[in-house]
Structures are given as C-alpha cells and as structure tokens.
C-alpha cells in the first residue's frame, strides 16, 4: 500500500504474430522505444527497468540497443506471469520511492505448435512427460470440462468466446488472427482436447509490449489525463487449487491464485469488481476466459452462460472482455501477454482504441494474467 499515485504514462507495442528475421530482443527494443516516445521521455530518464521473456533472451540485453545508461534492470522469468511479475517489481520499486520513472518490457518468440515444457524443470519425473501427461492443453480441457458440468456452461458458450475474440482481433491492427470466425466454424474445427477445438485455443506466437510508469509529481509533468495504476497483486497457488502439471490434486479445494490475486488487487485499489468498465482476462483458451470471469469476481460462477450468450462481454456489451482479441486473436508470446493486457486497458481508458474503442467514457479497467504452475497477477487501473 502506498499513498503515492502511480500511472502508466507510456505505451509501446510491437505487433503480435509471426515476424521472420526479427528477434524477440529486437521486438522488445522497438516496443520500448515506442513507449518512451509515447511518454515523451528519453531512455536516460528511466531510473528502473524490469522485463523478461520465456524463451527469447534476457530483457536487460536490450540496453546495448537502447543505451548504456547504467540503469538498474531486473530480468524476470516467470512463465505466463512474466509480464505481470515485471510490472509487480516496477510497481514495488516506485511505491518504495526507489525510482521515479520505470520501464517494463515483455516479449517472446516461440516456434509453432503446442509448448513442450520438460518435466524436470517443473519438479516432475521424466515419466510424466514420456507418458503423455505434460501438456497444458490437457489441463485446460479438464478444468473446463469439470467446470461446465458443475456450472452449466455449454459448448456454444465456449465457441462464442472465441468468436468474440476473433471479431475483436479483426479490429486490432496489432493482432495476429484478424479473420472473424463464426460459432459454427469454431465448433467444427479440429478437436484438440475435448471439449476444446482448435480455434478455441490460442497459439504460441511472437510480440513485445513495453510500458512506462511514473510516480507522484512526475505523472502530471508527463501526461495531462493519466491512467493510474491503482494496484498490482501477484499470487502463487495454495494447497487444494487445481493447477496445471499436477499428477494428483487434493480432495480439499482452495481458491485459485487468480481469485486471491484479484481480491487483493481490488482491495488495494479500493475499487470493486462491480465498478469495472473493461477487463482483459487470460484466455489461453475459451474456457479460461469463462472461468476467470468468475474467479476474478466479475460475475458469479455459472452466470457466464447467460452473460456470454447475451453478448455482455462484447465491445458494445455491459462488461467488455478482451477487447483487443486477447490471447486467442493476438497469440501467446508468453513474456508479452500480461503487459499487452495492461496496454489495451490503458488505451481503452484513454479513449484511444480506435475501431475497437468501447462506447461511453470507461473509467475503470482490470487485467488478469495466469500461468503455469499456478501463478496469477492482477491489476486495477483507472482514470
């Protein structure tokens, strides 16, 4: 907790998708320069930086391109929560008064196809991978399968989540998948892990996002109408939470790391889920968006069925979710996704989201990133 305001004062993005011949680190430097330009500052003005990728190199290497200013730069590697972790670090440095202006950057570049993590790096025996259990897609399928049975979510709702993502992506020049797909096309696409079909899954991809943060009096020097970062909360799993890469799970249930991170983020911000005008949620696949809607407190468990069927989460709906197309349309460069969410919310709150701008004058935004083996980071932003 801190009494000092913090704000996102600069946004930079390198388009998501496939970029042959461009390294992840080059994308990171491009995003960083754009964020600095957007904030109207120079790299030498930054007095703290944090960033990372899962598999595209060390973020701090980019100083050789951006400039050797001696800035303290912490490399972060924390799975899908890499961006959220970098943001947590920068937020803490600003809150502590150890820095005035910080840059966070997340980027990645993955080969096509499902991720192939190695069991040994996750504390598991090699047998777990050898026998075909080391797949994130299986976990997501099994989690939503159970959830659908418990809370009355239909396959049509899963397809509608993906259809919305591609519709939103078609309005986002930085998205990868920009062709709208119908609910029927999504349901009829190749079965990957029942109940999830090919077009209900995001694909590993490439991209980079950078944000400039400022604290206190520096904010108004840089922007007239700031978007404030009201809170950042980060949690790992508790005993009893159903998480990926678990050879067994206990009978006793616990709230997910997302539920705890979201509750903490709302509490720190003094803003409730009912106040949220736009949200970006981890949508590794359609089911994740459905479940995260309730885990974050944005709706009740089971309420998603009527909300999504009724179009409430569309750009023109009551609670627009993943307005930039999310992971489904943007792809998943692991290190970049968490910051992409914040980038999109800030853009929406600025009123600068172009063709995909949500109507009215949104005041409060929320982001949630989730990753293996049970980490979640949430933010609350407001004008």
């Amino acid at each position: 907790m801190t009494d000092v305001d913090m704000a996102v004062v600069g946004l930079g993005i390198h388009p998501f998708g496939r970029h042959e011949g461009v390294t992840g680190l080059e994308m990171a430097a491009i995003a960083a320069r754009r964020a600095l330009d957007d904030a109207g500052i120079r790299w030498a003005d930054v007095d703290f930086a944090a960033g990372g990728s899962d598999s595209a190199g060390n973020a701090d290497t980019s100083v050789s391109v951006l400039g050797l200013t001696g800035v303290p730069f912490i490399n972060v590697k924390n799975g899908c929560a890499t961006g959220g972790s970098a943001l947590t670090t920068a937020h803490a440095m600003l809150a502590a008064g150890s820095a005035e202006i910080a840059l966070v950057v997340g980027f990645d570049k993955h080969p096509p196809g499902a991720f192939n993590p190695l069991p040994e790096e996750w504390g598991l025996g090699s047998w777990y991978g050898e026998t075909g259990l080391m797949l994130t897609t299986q976990f997501f399928a099994m989690k939503i399968q159970r959830y659908m049975a418990e809370h009355g979510i239909s396959a049509s709702t899963l397809a509608k989540v993906a259809a919305k993502a591609f519709a939103n992506g078609s309005r986002n020049p930085n998205a990868w998948r920009r062709k709208p797909l119908s609910e029927d096309e999504i349901l009829a696409s190749k079965m990957v892990n029942p109940p999830l079909t090919q077009f209900m899954f995001c694909s590993p991809g490439e991209g980079a996002v950078a944000l400039v943060l400022a604290r206190g009096s520096r904010i108004k020097e840089l922007v007239r109408a700031p978007v404030y970062l009201r809170s950042v909360a980060f949690r790992t799993r508790r005993f009893g939470s159903f998480e990926v890469f678990s050879p067994s799970i206990p009978l006793e249930a616990a709230p997910s790391p997302t539920a705890e991170a979201a509750a903490a983020a709302f509490e720190q911000a003094g803003i409730g889920p009912e106040d949220v005008d736009v949200a970006q949620l981890q949508d590794t696949e359609s089911g994740a968006e459905v479940m995260h809607l309730a885990e974050t407190g944005l709706c009740q468990h089971g309420e998603q069925q009527s909300l999504i069927q009724g179009g409430a989460t569309g750009i023109d709906g009551r609670l627009p979710v993943n307005t930039d197309g999310g992971c489904l349309a943007c792809g998943e460069p692991i290190g970049a996704s968490g910051l992409r969410q914040v980038h999109e919310v800030v853009l929406q709150l600025r009123g600068g989201a172009g063709e995909r701008q949500i109507p009215g004058a949104p005041r409060v935004g929320f982001t949630q990133v989730y990753g293996a083996p049970g980490v979640s980071a949430c933010t609350v932003l407001s004008v």
């Binding site: 196809g113 499902a114 192939n116 993590p117 190695l118 069991p119 025996g125 090699s126 047998w127 777990y128 991978g129 050898e130 026998t131 075909g132 259990l133 080391m134 797949l135 299986q138 399928a141 099994m142 989690k143 399968q145 159970r146 049975a149 190749k190 079965m191 990957v192 892990n193 029942p194 109940p195 999830l196 005993f239 678990s246 050879p247 067994s248 799970i249 206990p250 009978l251 006793e252």
Partner: protein, 144 residues
Amino acid sequence: MLGQRDFVPVAEGLIAGTVAEPVLLGSACARCGTVTFPHQGSCPRCMSEDVQERRLARRGTLWTWTVQCFPPKSPPYAVPAVEEFAPFGVGYVELPGEVRVEARLTESDPERLRIGMPMELTLIPAPGASGAMTYAFRPLEEEA
C-alpha cells in the same frame, strides 16, 4: 498381500503390485493425513516431513477427463513418430477419501466417458520402445 512385481514400471517408486493387480505408491502425512501421488518427502498441506508410503485405492470415480487428440511433442513425449500416434484419454480419478490422481485412460471415445463413472487401476505399455508399463484407469463395467 500383493504379489511380487511382474513388470517393469516406467519409473521406480511409482507403481507396485502385479500386472493383474497393480497399485499406485503415494504418501500419507503422519500429522495431517494428506495423501499425495506420487510419493513425496514432505506434506504440501502442513509441511511436515513425517510422511509414509501409502498404497492407494485401486478404484475410484472419474472426476474430469479429456482426450489427447494430437501427438505430444517429443521430448518430453516418448513416441517420436507421428504415424504411431493414436488419441488417448486422460483424466483425474477420485480415490475416495484419498486424492485425485491424474492418469491415462484406456478409453478414448468421448461418448463413453462421463464424470462420475467408476474406474479401476490397470497397466498399459508405456509409450516408446522401453517395454516398461505405466498406470492407467479403465472404466469398470456397471454391475448388471
């Protein structure tokens, strides 16, 4: 008593018993009773290091499931050749009063899998050329 092991397991410390009657080796916390699979040296719930090996129940009910429809990448998967791949079921089986165990399923037809169905532990050949066996659950025929 369980018979002498008559198969090569995919990993030591994972499966005991016989092909006809295999059993999974988990652990139980002596302090809080929490059961885990596979065996681990400390309790994930209360952090006690006083844990004992536990032979888990062989029967349970299907808690959730999916089917692996595409060949997993190798590594870590043991089967390198795509043409050898056939879809396989995966699920969590709830062993009453113990724990939910993730396992391959002998059934891969979505039409024949449903949450709550009774399941029993069995062995299947592990993927790859090792000749080892791994554990799986098979649907138990409903009593007529």
